[in-house]
Structures are given as structure tokens and as C-alpha cells.
């Protein structure tokens, strides 16, 4: 397998970039060259990258809009937090590991429960129903005793601060790798074919419903794991953290990255997490700017301007994924 790696140029470059970034961050942090503001944002960047890449699978590759992504994040976050808060007898790495697994698993189970009935719908209807589920999940968390309702959970052990960057980075890279691999496999092609023409996909032997659920569940699991890391980074969870605005934020990253473009989603996630920190003064206008980004990206994507700009690429295929 290593030999295969060396043969593949773009994989080599990706590996190189991955290692360089890692070393860069480690060096900057240990040399104390980053302000407190910037060190505290390292893990949130990773979390957003994971959220964006997992949503990209659905919006970019399956071609469906889901507006409840934050809901899966919250399920994972709360599950993970409840485990680490209660498993005080276990050593930290074990309880955190359990939290990660459980967070992903429970989010995945909800992905199945919601996905199976709902994924038969398409387009606008699917979007609205997922929006509804996102709100319902928030509502339930808000009223459950287990999750401490509106007060939320606090004093969650901080197992995912910048000091644990290595662990989080590895998880993030793994997630990116898994999704990139998936997209370049027969299952990934099946998922993309549903986006391009679901009628033709079915006629060509692809079980559309099954793959929609598979994509949805994978995305939910990864969102759940991101949630666990988020919870153990900020130490506090409130139902309001995972609202419609959050889902839209992640959507903007995927759209800005160019739908169906994993690298784009990563870069957009990094930029859109760093930018608000840098542009603190414009915080009020952030959501408004996101809205404008969504609208202009869509119009630009579909305009003749774009076609003229990228005319030389028109014959060659724009390869998907990494």
C-alpha cells in the first residue's frame, strides 16, 4: 500500500501538506508565537472542518440539502459529555475514547431513525423536514432532565484543548481520508450518481434509498464525533449552541468551498472560522454576510460569467474529491 502511495502524485502532495501543517501548528504553539485568541481557535477550526466535510458528503455528493446537521452534532456532543461526566472512575483517555465512539454511534442511530422514513423525500421537502428534526431535537434536549434542559451541561472535562491538538488532528485527517476514499469508491460513485440523475441511477441498478440512508448516517456519525470534540473543547453545552444558525454556518462553508469539493470545504471551513476572530468588530454583520455569500455563490455558480471564466477547463473533467 505504501508503494501505491508513492505512485500517486496527488496523494503524496496531500500527505506532505498534512504533515507540514501539523508541524507548523505544533511549532507555533510551543514557541508561544500564537496569541491566546489564536490558540483557542485551533480546535474549533478542526471541528468546523469535520462538520463541513461531513455535510459536503450530503450536499455536495448526494446532492440533497439537509438543514439539521447541527442536530446530529448536538446528539454526539451531549452523549459524549454525559459519558465523560459520569465515567469519572475511568482514566481520561478511556473515557474520552468511549465518548467519541458513543457520540458517533448514537448520532448514527438517530441518522438511521430519521433517515429511513425521511430520505424518500427530495429537494425542498427533505430540507424542510430535516429542518424540523433539527428543531425537534433541540426542543427535546431542552426539555429532558437527562440533558439538564435549558441550563445545559457544564464542567465537561476539557479533553480536547489545543494541548490535545495531535489527537484531534489525527481524528480530523482520518475523517477527511475516509470521506475522500469513500467518494472514490463504487459506493461514492453510487452516491454521486443519485445526485446527477436518480432515475438513471435506479435504472442502472443502484438502490437509491439504501445509499441515501448510508450517506446520511455516515454524515451523522461524523457530525456526532465533531460534537464530542466540541463539547470537550468548550466544556459547556447548551441546547441553543446547536441551532438553525449553526447548520447554516456549516452550509455556507460547503457552498463556499464549491459543492462536491472536499478540499474546498476544508479551506472554506478554515477561513470562515478564522475570519470572525480576525474581524471581531464586524461580528454583527457576520450572519448577514453569510447570507450574501450563499446568494452570490449560487448565482455565480450558475451564471454565464463562470462558464466563460472556466472555459479552458470545459473539456477535461473536474475530478471530484481530493
Amino acid at each position: 500500500m505504501i508503494q501505491r502511495l508513492f505512485k500517486n502524485k496527488s496523494a503524496m502532495i496531500s500527505l506532505l501538506v498534512t504533515i507540514v501543517i501539523y508541524i507548523l501548528v505544533i511549532v507555533l504553539v510551543s514557541a508561544g508565537l500564537l496569541s491566546r485568541q489564536l490558540t483557542s481557535i485551533i480546535i474549533p477550526v478542526c471541528v468546523n472542518v469535520m462538520l463541513a466535510v461531513s455535510l459536503c458528503l450530503i450536499v455536495g455528493f448526494l446532492g440533497e440539502l439537509t438543514l439539521g446537521h447541527a442536530g446530529f452534532m448536538s446528539i454526539g456532543a451531549y452523549t459524549g459529555a454525559l459519558i465523560t461526566l459520569n465515567a469519572t472512575a475511568l482514566p481520561a483517555p478511556v473515557s474520552f475514547g468511549l465518548a467519541l465512539i458513543a457520540g458517533g454511534l448514537v448520532a448514527g442511530i438517530f441518522g438511521v431513525l430519521i433517515g429511513v422514513p425521511v430520505l424518500r423525500l427530495r429537494g425542498d421537502y427533505l430540507a424542510i423536514v430535516t429542518l424540523g428534526f433539527g428543531e425537534i431535537i433541540k426542543s427535546i434536549i431542552n426539555s429532558l432532565k437527562l440533558t439538564n434542559g435549558a441550563a445545559g451541561l457544564s464542567d465537561i472535562p476539557k479533553y480536547a484543548t489545543y494541548k490535545q491538538f495531535t489527537l484531534v488532528y489525527i481524528i480530523m485527517i482520518l475523517m477527511i481520508l475516509l470521506i475522500t476514499n469513500l467518494v472514490n469508491s463504487r459506493h461514492g460513485r453510487a452516491i454521486s450518481s443519485i445526485r446527477d440523475n436518480y432515475i438513471a441511477a435506479e435504472a442502472t441498478g443502484i438502490p437509491v434509498s439504501k445509499f441515501k440512508v448510508i450517506a446520511f448516517v455516515i454524515s451523522a456519525v461524523f457530525a456526532g464525533i465533531s460534537g464530542v470534540i466540541y463539547a470537550h473543547n468548550v466544556g459547556i453545552l447548551k441546547p441553543g449552541n446547536f441551532d438553525y444558525n449553526r447548520s447554516i454556518e456549516v452550509l455556507v462553508m460547503v457552498v463556499l468551498g464549491g459543492m462536491g469539493n472536499i478540499k474546498g470545504s476544508i479551506i472554506a471551513a478554515v477561513i470562515l472560522t478564522l475570519l470572525p476572530e480576525v474581524l471581531r468588530g464586524l461580528d454583527d454583520y457576520r450572519m448577514l454576510m453569510y447570507a450574501i455569500v450563499l446568494i452570490t455563490m449560487m448565482i455565480f455558480n450558475n451564471s454565464t460569467l463562470k462558464n466563460r471564466m472556466f472555459k479552458r477547463k470545459s473539456k477535461a473533467v473536474e475530478k471530484e474529491g481530493a
Binding site: 424518500r120 425537534i136 446568494i295 449560487m298 448565482i299
Partner: protein, 295 residues
């Protein structure tokens, strides 16, 4: 006797809420029928209408009736502008792109209002000062009377417009077959603009009635009624005007009875449940036409 009274009161409440949903649903259904898209931002026009009314009445002290008229007109114009700027460029694009843009517009409206007016809820005194009526042991509030009358008038007016005027016929033609309508000399762009004009005007009316009932403004006030009205439109059959009216009233009744006899929190979940059930069992809704995708 008391049980009967309370049921009747709930039914009247349901009719009132339902007629507001019906007004909003009409906007959804007309836009869907003619522009073949779900205007996700439609619910937020309601919110804009409420704030604009607040602006004119409370901040600018314009007398009630002119203020109401200007509010309706402003929202109608805003609707047309949104269509021209955000939706028209995407007429030939994939549905997903239009959907994302509509969400962008919705988000834009919410946040723009929030920047201008702030996120804190603003109290607003109802401008409707009609006394309540007593029918036996049941009291019908002034607001309810006005809401029911206004919505009934609007629905009758809209039905007349669609069926008896030239512009209305043009709208029906475009919703049947855009290409053929164009070839027949119908101004498709103008018709679509008119659709957004009327739909947004109705949303403004709904917003005014809504704010007089609930008397508190916040930037997200349009989101939930908007979604519920969408469910109503789907329930009645998306694309069907009588369907929107029927769906709206039905949903209002379902919601009112759920709130009273099951639970307020669950009533929202029940509304979504209705949507899922309708879409899984009879996607064309109660009065909708069977639209087969050409294979």
C-alpha cells in the same frame, strides 16, 4: 356545557390561526405553481411586514389605515425585488441551487432586520380596536373577527382575480405550461413578478394580523409560521389555490386542538408529523394535481 364551550373556542382559535396560515400558504402555492420553486424566504416577508408596520405606526406616527396600505405595498415590492435579484438568474438552475439561494434570502432578511432593530423582542400594541362579540357563552375577540373577515375577503378576491381577470388567466397559463404561455404572447416575466407581488402582499396582511394578535416583534417571528404555512400548502396540495386555503384552515384546527388537548411543545412536532405523513402517503396533498415526472 363548559367542555362544549371550550371546544368551540379552540375551534375558533384554530380557524383564526388557520386563516392566517391560509393567507401565507396562498403565497407559497402560487409561487410554486408559477415559478416552480418553494420560496423559503416567504415566511420572513411576514416578519418584514410586521416590522414595517411597527416602523410606520409606532416610530413614524403615520395614521393606521395609510400605514397598513403602505406596509402591504412595501412588502409586495420587496417580494418582486427579491425575485428579480435572487431567483430570476437561477430560472434554469438545478432545484438545489434555488433552494440554497432562497435560504440565503431568508437568512438575509432575518439578519438585516436584526441589525436594524436589534434582536430583543419589541412590544407592539395592536392597532385593531374592534370590540369583542359575545355569542351566548362564547366570546369572540375583535382580532378574531377582523382576521376571519379580512382573510375571507382576501381569498374571495384572489379567487375572483385568478378566474375572472386577464392577468389571472395568464397566471394559470404560465403555471400549466410556461413555454406555451410565452409562445401565446403572455409576458411570463411580468406574470411571475405579479405572482410574487400578490403573494408578498398577502404575507404582509398575514404579518399585520399576526402581530396584532401576538403583540411582540422579533426577527425570527416569521420562520415558524412560514414553515407551518408551507406544511399547510403541502397538505392542501401544493400548486392548488383552494388547496392552500383548505390546508391552512385544517392545519390551524389541528394545531389548535393539539395545543389545547395534547401539549404546546408537541403541537409543533405534530405539525411536522403531518408534513411527513402527507408526503409519504399522498404527496400531492388533498386537492393537488398528480404531477408525474417525465421519465
Amino acid at each position: 356545557m363548559n367542555v362544549l364551550n371550550s371546544i368551540i373556542e379552540q375551534l375558533i382559535n384554530g380557524l383564526r390561526t388557520g386563516s392566517i396560515y391560509a393567507l401565507i400558504a396562498l403565497g407559497y402555492t402560487m409561487v410554486y405553481g408559477i415559478a416552480k420553486m418553494i420560496n423559503f424566504a416567504h415566511g420572513d416577508i411576514i416578519m418584514v411586514g410586521a416590522y414595517v408596520l411597527y416602523l410606520f405606526v409606532t416610530l413614524l406616527h403615520i395614521p393606521v389605515i395609510p400605514a397598513v396600505l403602505i406596509t402591504i405595498l412595501s412588502c409586495a415590492v420587496i417580494g418582486v425585488v427579491i425575485e428579480k435579484v435572487a431567483y430570476k438568474p437561477l430560472r434554469k438552475a438545478q432545484p438545489l441551487a434555488v433552494l440554497i439561494t432562497a435560504i440565503g434570502v431568508s437568512f438575509f432578511l432575518q439578519n438585516l432586520i436584526q441589525i436594524i432593530f436589534g434582536a430583543t423582542p419589541i412590544p407592539f400594541g395592536s392597532i385593531i380596536n374592534i370590540p369583542a362579540i359575545r355569542l351566548g357563552s362564547i366570546t369572540i375577540s375583535g382580532i378574531t373577527i377582523v382576521t376571519l373577515s379580512v382573510t375571507t375577503i382576501c381569498m374571495i378576491a384572489l379567487t375572483w382575480f385568478i378566474n375572472k381577470t386577464r392577468a389571472g388567466r395568464a397566471m394559470r397559463a404560465v403555471s400549466e405550461d410556461k413555454g406555451a404561455a410565452e409562445l401565446m404572447g403572455i409576458n411570463v416575466n411580468g406574470t411571475i413578478s405579479l405572482t410574487f407581488f400578490i403573494g408578498s402582499a398577502l404575507a404582509a396582511v398575514a404579518g399585520i394580523l399576526f402581530i396584532c394578535q401576538y403583540e411582540s416583534l422579533k426577527p425570527t417571528l416569521g420562520a415558524l409560521p412560514g414553515i407551518k404555512a408551507f406544511v399547510a400548502a403541502v397538505l392542501g396540495g401544493i400548486g392548488s389555490i383552494p388547496g392552500a386555503m383548505l390546508g391552512g384552515i385544517l392545519l390551524g384546527l389541528i394545531e389548535s386542538l393539539s395545543k389545547a388537548y395534547i401539549s404546546t411543545q408537541l403541537s409543533d412536532a405534530i405539525v411536522f408529523g403531518v408534513l411527513v405523513i402527507v408526503l409519504l402517503v399522498k404527496p400531492t396533498g388533498l386537492l393537488g394535481k398528480q404531477r408525474r415526472e417525465k421519465v
